[in-house]
Amino acid sequence: MIARLRGTVVAPLLAIVFSALLCAVALIISGANPASAMAAMVRQVGQSTVAVDILNGAAVYYIAALAVAIGFQMNLFNIGVEGQYRIGAIIAAIVGGAFVLPPVLHALVIVIVAALAGAGWAALPAFLKVTRGVNEVISTIMMNAIAFGVAAWLMRRDNFGQLIGNNVTTKPIAESGWVPGLSLGSRGTIFGLVLLAVALGIGYGFLMNRTRFGFELRASGESPTAASAGGVNAKKMVVIAMLLSGAVAGLIAMPEILGRDHAYTLNFAQGYGLTGIAITLLGRNHPVGIAFGALLWAFLDKSALALDNVGVPREIALIMQGSIVISVVIAYEIVRRVELTAEQRRVGRQLGTAEAPAPATVTAGAPPPGPPDAAAPSDDRPDSGGRA
């Protein structure tokens, strides 16, 4: 247990420290003081609504990362979260603005519509993958771009767009569809749908670790051949995982739309899908790990605003985020290799101390312990090793 914890905690910590050093060097070269920059960022958390902004941002990122993680669990790279959440958001905003329902029901309908729309946008790549063998990475990248076009078309004034102030938005959702937040006065308002993120996280953890479906999903990721030999229908798993991932992706914008904007606007935030991928990598598909990753990401995002006050371009936070991701994945890989070698050495030692049995009996009698991925060193999973 402790060894496992060491593997999962030390690697990301080292990576974060390494990236921080890298950024410090970059700051020194550009003539700024890294210590004062760091202090300004930490101080910023106490300022006005920043702490609440971080929490709200983290909730949105968390949902995005969960959507990505569902696919990653079975080696399915749903790069298309970006497009799926955009389509989910705009369809849900249009449908939600179109009619009025009793309070809770209205919000519920909007959320369900968003999930369905997200899943719908993921359906085409899933279909192409299982029927035509088209790799999901390239098809979802294309779908992301097309989603921008569809959203822009839907937002045309002769379709669903309306000019409100000097911003084009969809028809605002009536108050019955809003989800009230927890107001902390001058500190800001926590989105009510932060709870949705928490619920999704718990649901995800339960689904992956406590259900047959989760087992089959992870098995297909670990070894497609073993899974299909065990009676798992690989195509069915691909379709379900992709649709589920798309459905969760559809929900990404819900906290913001139902809690703050009440419409889809032209300056709708973009990039949550890519962020979700990065955070999933940080958290290694683990619900708790992803939560930490989301908080770290949101912290870097929101408190970087303070950097302008100390004369540092706030974009240094972007470099920090990028370098954290790349060093984290490298660190996990190194830790995995070190553990693998240690494991092999341990097994070797055990074999050596055994009282000269025939090698065949030993391997049959005592199969080497450890995670199944220990047997496949060149497996290219993003999340290999260290998982529960």
Partner: protein
């Protein structure tokens, strides 16, 4: 990335694939290529004549096509080098962004040739990070690519605020840099212009297309052509190229024959970044005024990747893909929505040919599907005036999806593409 996911393929790169005996070809590859180009020109000329849209084959459209196809072509070449050595590179976009920044910086300090060089270096640095992560550390290649896209965008934004902001007083843009002088092949260009102006069926179309290719040519075009032909020669006709491609097909076998797999992969991935960066430089020098602007690449790195897949991981096919995507973009710029609408008519013509071909091959289902699609498109053509403007920029993406859906099973990617290889894992 495995384009065609073969269930049950071992992930260790030791996939023993039984290659079917090659089909007997009636025509050599280059002849098919020439006939294909001829068919496309005939299709465009016919469409242009029947729909009364001369812009389809005008020289200004073609000029835009060349200009817009360049970054896509160069990014695609980057993808080609990396994937031929077995490393998937979806970080092309990030490398391209670093290339645009580098090109603007170099252009400010030393003119257009410096811009080209610095753009290439910027991209190659991104490539080096990808190489370290994927080759040395064996990180999943998609994961590393995603991270490099984030990192590249972040670095460019930071440096732009830091260095360009004081000069241009806009954190998202650089001051404009000097562009290349352009050349026109005279007197052919003027002679072709006369021909084009006469609006004779066929001849004027060909004249317009040709004139677009030889008028206002920047050295960037020549560099790209040299690099494309050079890549083909190096990868397919030298010992080094054979070794590099063997790393993408079967690294275990390559290593057993004494090829330094890591070294070749490193060279390929760094070169890949260099090409992507060059694509960024082409973007900066091709824009007017020539500046670095945030979000300038607009996903062209991904489109380059798509063009390469469209071209079946071959340079000739890549050129066709880049040309197609560049044309879709160029037509939108120089002619607008109603002219792109006329392309629907062209698509109907192509589908009509496809129906005849399928009937000739006695594939009834294929013929039926193609006929249905043709009728559907024709109905859309008749009942709409123009395509929704919002979809026009995404024509390449839609074409890519359609091509993948129809042809994914015929495409053949390098056998060990996307698979992490560790030194000595074949032992």
């Amino acid at each position: 990335m495995t384009m065609v996911d073969v269930p049950g393929t071992p992930s260790t790169g030791g996939a023993v694939t039984m290659t079917p005996p090659p089909r007997r070809r009636v025509l050599p590859g280059w002849a098919v290529y020439v006939i294909g180009i001829g068919l496309v020109v005939v299709m465009l000329a016919t469409t242009s004549y029947l729909t009364g849209k001369p812009a389809l084959t005008s020289s200004s459209t073609m000029q835009n096509t060349v200009l817009l196809a360049l970054p896509i072509l160069l990014a695609g070449l980057g993808g080609l080098w990396a994937e031929r050595a077995g490393v998937v590179n979806i970080g092309l976009e990030g490398m391209m962004i670093m290339g645009t920044w580098g090109a603007a910086w170099g252009g400010l300090h030393g003119g257009p040739w410096m811009a080209v060089l610095c753009g290439m270096i910027g991209g190659a640095l991104g490539g080096a990070v990808h190489a370290v992560a994927t080759v040395t550390f064996g990180v999943n290649q998609i994961v590393s690519g995603v991270a490099i896209n984030l990192l590249g965008a972040g670095i460019a934004k930071y440096l732009s605020t830091l260095i360009f902001f004081p000069l241009s007083s806009n954190p998202r843009e650089s001051p404009s840099v000097e562009r290349f002088d352009t050349f026109s092949a005279q007197p052919f260009s003027d002679w072709l212009l006369d021909l084009e102006r006469e609006q004779r069926v066929g001849i004027s179309d060909v004249a317009g297309l040709l004139r677009g290719m030889i008028t206002g040519v920047s050295p960037m075009v020549m560099i790209s052509v040299v690099l494309l032909v050079g890549s083909f020669f190096v990868l397919w006709h030298t010992r080094f190229g054979l070794r590099l491609r063997s790393c993408g097909e079967n690294p275990i076998a390559a290593e057993s024959l004494g090829v330094n797999v890591y070294l070749h992969k490193y060279i390929a991935v760094v070169a890949s970044g260099g090409f992507a960066g060059l694509g960024g430089a082409a973007l900066v020098l091709g824009s007017n005024p020539a500046i670095y602007a945030e979000g300038q690449t607009g996903g062209r790195g991904f489109i380059g990747l798509a063009a390469m897949i469209f071209g079946n991981w071959r340079p000739g096919g890549l050129l066709a893909g880049a040309g197609l995507f560049g044309y879709a973009d160029g037509l939108r710029l120089s002619a607008g929505a109603t002219t792109v609408h006329a392309l629907l008519y062209g698509a109907v013509l192509i589908l009509g040919l496809a129906v005849l071909w399928q009937l000739y091959k006695r594939r009834w289902v294929g013929a039926g599907t193609a006929a249905l699609a043709a009728v559907g498109l024709y109905v859309i053509y008749l009942y709409t005036e123009e395509l929704p403007r919002e979809f026009l920029p995404y024509t390449p993406h839609i074409i890519t999806l359609v091509v993948l859906a129809l042809a994914a099973q015929r495409l053949r990617m390098p056998a060990a593409d996307g698979i992490v290889y560790r030194r000595g894992s074949g032992a």
